[in-house]
């Protein structure tokens, strides 16, 4: 049974490609005891270390675990990864949510068009955004996964500031952007 749990744990870290907390790992492998779960992850971590694999499992300061390439190897194979995280349409919707979060879904749809319903669903599935229900409406915000991916602050308010600062530094403050054409609403992605 421990073998199956170990396999599921390793599989979870492999497919997600992002830090997973102990609770998430536990829900996949069917275990509750934090110590037991940590023990399982650590044994996989050791196996990778012993085999001199370029893949490593890190235990982050906040207690999450992540499987990743050792940085010294990563740079040599970067050219092989050419897949974007998202296609342009969903990426724009995500960017907008990140800047305006917490933001009602209705506002996202108003600005991004009806296709954004599909984007929101996809972003939620990829754990890049989460939502709270307030009555009949939903309020969207980005997740820790999003912050981790782009190395941004985990606090939404600080993240917004960070994004605005970078935009300002680039001399492209939100207010200088010219008026858009109608094409953005009709984009098909």
């Amino acid at each position: 049974m421990a073998g199956l749990q170990q396999q599921l744990c390793e599989a979870a870290l492999y497919v997600s490609g992002r830090p997973l907390d102990v609770k998430t790992i536990g829900s996949v492998i069917g275990a509750r005891s934090e110590e037991k779960i940590k023990g399982i992850v650590r044994s996989i971590k050791e196996r990778y270390e012993k085999s001199e694999s370029p893949i490593q499992i890190l235990e982050l300061p906040d207690g999450r675990f992540v499987m990743q390439l050792k940085p010294e190897v990563a740079k040599h194979v970067r050219k092989l990864s050419n897949r974007p995280l998202l296609t342009p349409g969903p990426l724009r919707t995500l960017s907008f949510i990140a800047l305006r979060q917490p933001i009602p879904q209705s506002r996202v749809i108003a600005v991004r068009g009806k296709l954004a319903y599909q984007h929101v669903k996809q972003l939620k599935e990829m754990d890049l955004i989460s939502y709270e229900k307030l009555g009949r409406s939903k309020t969207l915000r980005t997740t820790v996964t999003f912050a981790d991916y782009f190395n941004l602050n985990h606090d939404p308010a600080l993240m917004r500031k960070e994004l605005k600062n970078i935009l300002d530094l680039q001399g492209q403050g939100p207010t200088v952007a010219p008026a858009p054409g109608p094409s953005d609403h009709e984009e098909q992605s």
Binding site: F96, I103, A157, I166, A177
Partner: protein, 225 residues
Amino acid sequence: MTTPQDTYWLKQPYAVLFDILHLHRVKPWDVHLEDLLTGLMKEMRGRGYIDFSVSGTALLTSAILLRMKSELLLKMEEPPRPPPEKPTDYVPPPLAFPIRYQSTTTSLEEVLKGILEVLKAEKLVPVGTSQLVTRTPAVFEQADDWLVKIEEEIKAFYGQLLKAGTRTGRLSFLKLLADGDAVQAVRMFIMLLFLAFEGKVGLNQLEEFGDIEIEMKNVGSTTTD
């Protein structure tokens, strides 16, 4: 008295012939009179007993239905065509994809580019009231850093209160706030709530929206621990 097996004509498919009151609901082209009447006659003969009131009613209904059909024809309404046949084709089950991790390359630059593009569209869309309601009020956003250090802030604030209130034991919220803005008022009020909860001050407000009187309690202790 009739027994259930005697009322075969009230069962399907003949029931339509004996429900004259609801005949107007029937689509005449759905009723195949010839089949029904032939069937009914056969049933009667099979039983060796002809009930003329039953056959009479069936005849009346048939006449009404024929008349309905004739009227529709006179209105040039053609009998409905069968619905177009849906294409039938085998749809295989969903394929089970193998799972491979694939490293992705989207950079923060691309997110920023996305933001700039969307901001153009956002300008055209007026802000709805729902957004105003759901967004975090600016007061709380500014309070982020302050909230992190709230315990230290309360300690320092209590120190100030002790200094200012040792003589009278009572202080005015508005006087303490002096020229402070809304954010400072919220912060001071939150700190007072904490102190009141700890029993270090009492709060009295005599008039709605009026000044708050701060009553110093247990004067002598200088910590909030």
